[in-house]
Symmetry: C2
Subunit: 329 residues, 2 copies
Amino acid sequence: MMDVKKILSEYSKRFDGPIDEFLPPEKPDNLMKATVQYPQAGGKRMRPAMVLAAAGAVGGNKDKAMPLAVAIEYIHNFTLIHDDYMDGDEKRRGMTTIHVKYGGPTAILAGDALFARAFEVIAQLDVPDGVVRDVLKVVTRAVWDLARGQQMDVNNENGEEVTMDEYIETIRLKTSVLFAAGAAGGAMIGGADKRTVDAVHEYAMLLGVAFQMFDDVLGLVGDPVKLGKSVGNDVRKGKSTVMVTHALKNIKNENIMREFRSVLGKMDATEEDIRKARKIMEDAGSVDFAIEMATDYTKRAIKKLDVLKDSDDKEFMIALAEFAMKRDV
Amino acid sequence: MMDVKKILSEYSKRFDGPIDEFLPPEKPDNLMKATVQYPQAGGKRMRPAMVLAAAGAVGGNKDKAMPLAVAIEYIHNFTLIHDDYMDGDEKRRGMTTIHVKYGGPTAILAGDALFARAFEVIAQLDVPDGVVRDVLKVVTRAVWDLARGQQMDVNNENGEEVTMDEYIETIRLKTSVLFAAGAAGGAMIGGADKRTVDAVHEYAMLLGVAFQMFDDVLGLVGDPVKLGKSVGNDVRKGKSTVMVTHALKNIKNENIMREFRSVLGKMDATEEDIRKARKIMEDAGSVDFAIEMATDYTKRAIKKLDVLKDSDDKEFMIALAEFAMKRDV
């Protein structure tokens, strides 16, 4: 069994240099500081690792995929800056968020600047021009979808109750498409044929859904200390996660349903309230249901990799999918 | 003498179809409505007109440049959406701005979505892959610079006094680079050699500076009715325009200087205050100085076009530069 955390951490170190290199300081200072803060801060950096692994797994040169890896991480960070501002979040990875530190306008501009730089970096890829165009198509489509997904999430949090299918579509747009664009782009740069690119693209799409679903589970039943954040916030926001949607459909007892609904969307719900809501969802089988569903997505993701020859990179991609389900953070 | 307004209006109609075509409706509805509002509303559409004219002026096929024209207009509109939000502006072209109508989060996301779509459209250009890469490079750099310029403007309005050179650099970044990227991109698509692309690029860069400088003049001495907005707001914001910087350097009388400084940056300055400040700048020769400077930029812009053969498109580009100085709106 591969040590995914260790490999991710090795990859992460490998990105430090290029992430700085493609963002040399310019004027004005405050914008530059705001722009580099999230990329330099690290985090799991799963998305860029996926780009390099995909390039390697199809038999390509990983170094050639490095600029795309950096670009995908910039795009991820640009969306975090904008999302943190619109969600009013004050902390990210232990740091003060950009809009709190530099003001809302600078948060918007730092996001825009990172976004622009991501595509400037893609334009510099040392691959045939046709590959640049193909990468551009899949990545631009992903960013368009990210905006749609975030808007659906905003609408959802504003109290619109959504079906399970709609929720999964939101996850797909908010999380999967960027994983998928990175993996597909890595495979393109690695010289894969269309069938292989499509398989890798679908692998990452399914993995992204599994990852986010399990993230929702952790956000309810995880360890707040390990997670570095309080649990139950999705319940407070009244978010239609798989668990919530399942519970609303499967709770038969009227009193329990009334109790559940009284906590759902209650922004100032106490820890005791959250414990109750969690117990109700566990009893209704909603947590198990979400874990089973995420596991199914993981299996389908791994199955897509059958088109690839065996390699360390393929093994890492499989392990990464399994990691999505076994982690505690 | 060409009727620039008439030609711009003909171009503008030509863009209506493609602007809609590249933004077919998807989900969610509120994001889509927010995304199409500015592009569909029109405005002068000078930037996309410049793209087609540049493609034609170098002997190329204008139709092939249409997707870039649309992309440049989307980028312009994305920056307007974000700028309006950060500036807190409530009206644009007589319409309610996006953040007021749909909320701040949707304004951020609609800008991001338009930005992404712009590059998706560039990826679809019917030109050799190498040209797509070259266009991508110049346009991504422009968007990076736009963010820098807007941040400088934000810093400037926050009371940092800047030199004239710094102010012109801000204008160059905020206004010129997108004109220039559009013109250069149009020339690339039209098949121009590097020397011609560079000349067209510089033409538009100089024209952009002249345009914004004259805009500042109109914002002080223009007709509020024709402009559709009140005058003197740059003075209220304490913005270091060419006129203000010139006046601060050239007013010799201490009492007049004190009076001028008392209005500068006074957000609630009355119309009478503004009239006084304007008179002081006129007496100091600051308004004439700004007009002369803008005229000089216009002349230098037109001179750059010497590399082009005579054509209607070249004539339009010259007329557009002259229009920058002769307009009353």
